[in-house]
């Protein structure tokens, strides 16, 4: 076991090309999915937080449930959609980075939307009447509500990133874990562990933990600065 750790740190110290390629693919997929998930999830969460309509409670329960859907289920559904016989089979996105981004988009979006809704709804209760008093149009209300909660919303986005970068089921099914093409940190860890190459698996695990830790530190520092600045 100790030897595996020594070999893992050795691989990292050598900046092994295989590791770097896998890490870049992982970050490329997860960040792209995160950006798309934020662009859709944040306005969706804001809309659910501020609008009243029939079936809103049902929509919230469904959204909250989608946060916990196993990633393999998402993977299977996206696989069916992108497979040759599926509705988007012509695009040829199965076993590509694009396909993996689509799969992770469906994983991050409900999470970001659900957490954003909760954060924004709390703020909406406080600011609704002042906004109405100023006669701000609906889009302006959303804009200032999101602006007011911008530091809290980083937690929702961070949660989306953590879920995307650490999931293995969907990218394995949709990406196929193809060497030099769709292999990510999590799929590589699963593969290398089953092959017995613990050094590579451990080194990727260390990088994965480091990325999640760095993201958390970044968000923590941003929030600290913001709280000092804005109270």
């Amino acid at each position: 076991m100790y030897q595996a750790f020594i070999d893992a740190f050795s691989l990292l110290a050598q900046l092994d090309a295989t590791i770097i390629r896998i890490v870049i693919t992982s970050i490329q997929v997860s960040l792209s999915a995160l950006i798309l998930g934020t662009l859709v999830g944040l306005p969706l969460g804001a809309w659910l937080a501020t609008e009243e309509f029939a079936g809103k409670k049902v929509a919230i329960v469904i959204l909250n449930s989608l946060m916990g859907v196993p990633t393999v289920i998402v993977g299977v559904l996206v696989y069916l959609i992108l497979s040759r016989s599926g509705p988007f089979g012509e695009w040829g996105w199965l076993f590509t980075v694009k396909g993996m981004i689509v799969a992770q988009f469906f994983i991050t979006t409900p999470l970001i939307a659900a957490l954003s809704r909760q954060i924004l709804e709390d703020s909406w209760r406080v600011h609704r009447e002042p906004f109405m008093t100023l006669r701000l149009p609906p889009l302006a209300r959303l804009k200032w509500l999101i602006w007011d909660c911008r530091f809290s919303l980083t937690i929702a986005i961070l949660a989306g990133f953590a879920r995307a970068i650490s999931e293995v089921g969907a990218v394995m099914i949709v990406g196929g874990n193809i060497d030099r093409v769709t292999r990510t940190m999590t799929t590589a860890i699963a593969l290398e562990t089953s092959k017995g190459d613990l050094a590579l698996a451990l080194s990727l695990g260390i990088v994965l933990l480091g990325i999640v830790l760095l993201a958390n530190i970044f968000i923590f520092v941003v929030r600290q600065i913001a709280e000092r600045r804005y109270g």
């Binding site: 406080v126 600011h127 009447e129 002042p130 109405m132 008093t133 100023l134 006669r135 701000l136 149009p137 302006a140 804009k143 200032w144 602006w147 007011d148 909660c149 911008r150 530091f151 913001a226 600045r229 804005y230 109270g231």
Partner: protein, 229 residues
């Protein structure tokens, strides 16, 4: 005298009960108008009704002012996580033309010019009220409504806010304010509206109301208020 408001067969419901009602009431447009009454009497409801924040279940509420010609300063306005200046520039999103120089002038006029770039959440209660006042004035209203504008303020801040209210009247703006401070009402008001249990029971001059209230509820209210004060 012109009428500020004509309420006709109006009823406002909330949570299954009537929180405001009036058969036929005409409120004259006369300088500064004070709304007085116990908590729950309907003062805030009336202000929100005039501003268009709530709609009556029945009846009509007619005013010579367009909706965009009134401004309402709430009893407590929570601040955004934004600078003092941003609290005024957000009016641009309400389709108002507010240039940077106008914002600077507005902040200077309420003594907040030096705090323009500070976070609004760090303002004191008095400074927050002044900021809300500055924002209300930037809306170029003909009617300004203030819900307990000096509640929780120290005497100096109260004096500043009262000065701003008098300045508005000098500029021919109609001011309606709700207050529990009877001394303030006597100092500032040209007309007093006494409200009780969701109804306007008396409309008259401060002298008339304070010396000779016309209703039993008005007498009891004044007795309680002056004992308390």
């Amino acid at each position: 005298m012109d009428k500020l408001l004509t309420l006709d067969q109006i009823k406002v419901f909330a949570d299954g009960r009537t929180i405001f009602r009036a058969d036929h009431i005409e409120i004259p447009m006369n300088g500064m108008i004070a709304l007085v009454g116990s908590n729950g009497a309907g003062k805030t409801t009336l202000l929100r009704l005039i501003h268009g924040l709530i709609k009556p279940a029945s009846g009509s509420c007619l005013s010579p002012f367009e909706k965009h010609e009134s401004a309402l300063v709430l009893h407590y306005t929570p601040m955004l996580k934004a600078s003092v200046r941003e609290h005024l520039t957000l009016l641009r999103d309400a389709n108002l033309t507010v240039s940077d120089s106008v914002v600077d002038q507005a902040l200077a006029s309420v003594g907040l010019g030096h705090l323009a770039n500070n976070p609004a959440q760090k303002l004191s209660a008095g400074e927050r009220q002044k900021l809300c006042f500055a924002r209300a004035r930037l809306q170029n209203p003909k009617l300004v409504m203030l819900d307990e504008p000096t509640a929780n303020l120290d005497p100096n801040a109260s004096d500043d806010v009262e000065g701003m209210m008098m300045q508005l009247v000098k500029e021919s703006t109609v001011v309606i304010f709700a207050s529990h401070n009877m001394a303030q009402v006597q100092r500032l008001a040209d007309t007093v509206l006494f409200m009780h249990d969701g109804q306007i029971l008396e409309i008259g001059s401060p002298e008339q109301f304070f010396k000779n209230p016309q209703t039993k509820e008005g007498s009891q209210f004044l007795a309680r208020e002056f004992i308390a004060q």
